[in-house]
């Protein structure tokens, strides 16, 4: 390892994605988030459904258009790139989708699915592409002779391997993984997570990893951001987030995970109700309505994301209050 500041694979600043509705209202899916993914690391974006994590990830690959903000991939701003520049940028950023059943074309053979990005990007000669597909199959733990099979002839875990091989085809720098294991059986999840960890180590890949499963994110990601209703409420290293969570929502998320130690049920931080709608947002902290520690100030103004120590930032007025210092 060198001592230089590690290069950045992806740099997102002030990304905003709003979806206008027909009645003039706006869905605030992503509302001004910033983060960096250093080369060779995994960055986890966690949050519940509707928090905007998937929209943020798709905007990074420009599969949805950003309303404002920049997504810097190397020296290209992918939100502004057009034509050939965008095409070239997409060599460097690929996506593995959640559902391995609907994200593969059922009428295409596995080999052709994996070769498709090479064809589209015109990488290598036809024989080189075929050889690359063989290599990719081996890399993700499939046998090259399975190239001629159709997606329905594979199990869920094997299909996700095909999805990963397809994402690897163009030798990208960064792979966006959108809940890549949540549709899989537990025993298969472990196989895919181990594969992703091995590829990161061996190929120096970076991941933008989207998940609602804290244990999975903790296992794979060096840095983690917690999203709530379109905003990052806490961001920090794996150790910072789990050793000393500072936002009440992060604490609630961590304590809501059913633990296999059987005596933790009573130390839980319970949150009430459901998140408010991303159409009509409250003026103050978006979590205030569900937060057990909220004071009147919380519903009046929105706390900013403030760096506390090291690389650990939190958006909460009350994070220093004694009642928020969690007991272990």
């Amino acid at each position: 390892m060198n001592t230089q500041v590690p290069a950045t694979a992806l740099c997102v600043s002030d990304l905003v994605v709003h979806f206008p509705l027909s009645d003039g209202k706006v869905v605030h899916a992503v509302d001004g988030i910033s983060f960096e993914v250093p080369v060779g690391t995994a960055f986890g974006l966690v949050g519940e459904s509707g928090s905007g994590k998937t929209t943020a990830a798709l905007a990074c690959a420009r599969l949805v258009e950003a309303t404002s903000g920049t997504v810097q991939l190397g020296d290209i701003d992918i939100t502004q790139a057009t034509g050939n520049a965008l095409r070239a940028a997409r060599r460097d950023i690929q996506v593995v989708f959640q559902d391995p059943f609907s994200s593969l074309n059922p009428r295409e053979r596995a080999g052709s699915i994996v070769r498709r990005p090479l064809d589209l990007m015109r990488i290598g000669t036809p024989t080189e592409r075929e050889r690359r597909v063989d290599d990719l199959f081996a890399t993700v733990g499939l046998r090259p002779e399975q190239k001629t099979l159709f997606p329905h002839q594979f199990s869920g875990g094997q299909r996700q391997r095909i999805g990963i091989a397809r994402a690897l085809a163009t030798n990208p720098r960064l792979i966006v993984c959108d809940e890549p294991v949540s549709a899989l059986d537990v025993a298969i999840q472990a196989q895919i997570l181990n594969l992703l960890a091995r590829l990161k180590r061996e190929l120096g890949l970076s991941y933008l990893f989207i998940s609602h499963d804290l244990a999975v994110v903790q296992h794979l990601c060096e840095r983690i951001a917690v999203m709530y209703l379109g905003q990052i409420v806490e961001i920090g290293s794996r150790q910072e987030i789990f050793r000393k969570p500072m936002h009440p929502y992060t604490m609630a998320l961590i304590s809501a995970v059913p633990s296999t130690d059987m005596d933790t049920a009573d130390t839980r931080i319970r949150v009430k109700g459901d998140p408010p709608s991303p159409i009509s947002l409250p003026p103050g902290c978006r979590f205030a309505g569900r937060c057990p520690y909220a004071v009147p100030r919380c519903s009046e103004s929105l706390p900013e994301l403030v760096t506390r120590d090291g690389s650990h930032s939190v958006a909460c007025f009350r994070t220093d209050e004694p009642e928020l210092q969690i007991k272990r």
Binding site: Q158, V186, A190, P258, S259, T260
Partner: protein
């Protein structure tokens, strides 16, 4: 042991396929006591959901049927019960919360009507009584302003609210047995925690026995008293939940318990690779061989495993496992 509410004996469920009849559940026996929470754990295709359906007489026939065994609810056999009798049992004695609250609720009726419908079907009560009962149930499952919510339609409610409505429907007749098939997989963790709090609460209030079907080991640890592990249609391990978590006996159970990433409050910089169970679940039509169904994926398999399927034998007080390693050590 107290008197058993539900007793499943040598249950076998078969499905007709183009390749002949296949058994998706075999030799399944278990007991459920009053007030107990039983977990049924396994991967998709292990037969856990069809077992749940069979308890309600809901195995789709054709192509499926209960081909052997008995399901006794307080001594009465559900397998041979008439459709008329089954309609009385469903909802009244045994009810079920399904996995997908969105597809299990009727989109064109208000949630209040859907709860009231169940009450009217079983209690012969008037419309207004049933409606009041529906509002009471919505209150019980923790839906704020139930009088207003009762008039709303499923699409107006969030996922957590919908699942609460499902639970309200399941509990409106105060069943003796509540079956919950992956009741929280479609929900977020904070909402999942709320739903499980609700289950615990209701269990205290109503005293129902619960069968919880899940693949989430954390949920099992938090919610259940006793666990059955199923693999390829068979029960391969059974025991109290603490033993299941801390000292699993069957290699498959051990794999299931160890392959999940555990949330740590003090994570290390460089996590160890997860334990993997190699390979995939066999399809029911692959099970014609006499060997142990798990043998092809088992690291500890030896000659006997490939010759004969191991029987389920007691391994400790209140525990059983179907593995030759527990009974016939190799060499």
């Amino acid at each position: 042991m107290t008197q058993n509410l539900l007793s499943v004996q040598d249950l076998e469920i078969s499905f007709r396929t183009v390749a002949g009849e296949v058994q998706v559940v075999r030799d399944l026996s278990f007991e459920l006591a009053q007030g107990e929470v039983l977990g049924i754990v396994g991967e998709s295709g292990c037969g856990k959901s069809i077992t749940a359906l069979s308890l309600l007489g809901l195995v789709p026939n054709p192509p499926g049927r209960v081909s052997k065994g008995r399901i006794l609810l307080e001594g009465e056999d559900i397998v041979t019960a008439s459709e008329r009798r089954l309609r009385q049992i469903r909802g009244n004695d045994i009810s079920m919360v399904f996995q997908e609250p969105m597809t299990s609720l009727n989109p064109v009726y208000s949630v209040g009507e859907q709860i009231a419908e169940t009450a009217r079907a079983h209690f012969n009560s008037s419309r207004s009584e049933a409606w009041e009962r529906a509002i009471e149930m919505l209150q019980l499952v923790g839906i704020p302003s139930p009088e207003r919510r009762a008039h709303e339609f499923p699409h107006q409610l969030s996922g957590g609210m919908r699942q609460r409505v499902m639970i309200a429907i399941a509990l409106v007749c105060e069943p003796k047995v509540l079956i919950a098939d992956e009741p929280t997989t479609a929900l977020d963790v904070t909402v999942q925690a709320q739903i499980f709090d609700l289950f615990r609460d209701l269990q205290h209030k109503i005293g129902a026995a619960i069968i919880l079907i899940t693949h989430d080991i954390g949920v099992v640890a938090q919610m259940t008293d006793r666990v059955i592990v199923m693999y390829a249609g068979r029960k391969i391990e059974e025991g109290p939940v603490s033993a299941f978590i801390t000292d699993p006996r069957h290699p498959y159970t051990r794999g299931l318990v160890n392959c999940i990433p555990r949330l740590s409050l003090d994570p290390s910089d460089d996590p160890e690779p997860l334990f993997e169970i190699p390979g995939v679940v066999p399809s029911p039509s692959d099970l014609s061989l006499p060997r142990c169904a798990f043998a092809p994926r088992c690291r500890n398999a030896f000659a006997l495993c490939l010759e004969k399927s191991p029987p389920l034998l007691p391994v400790a007080e209140g525990r059983a496992a179907a593995c030759w390693l527990e009974t016939e050590k190799p060499g």
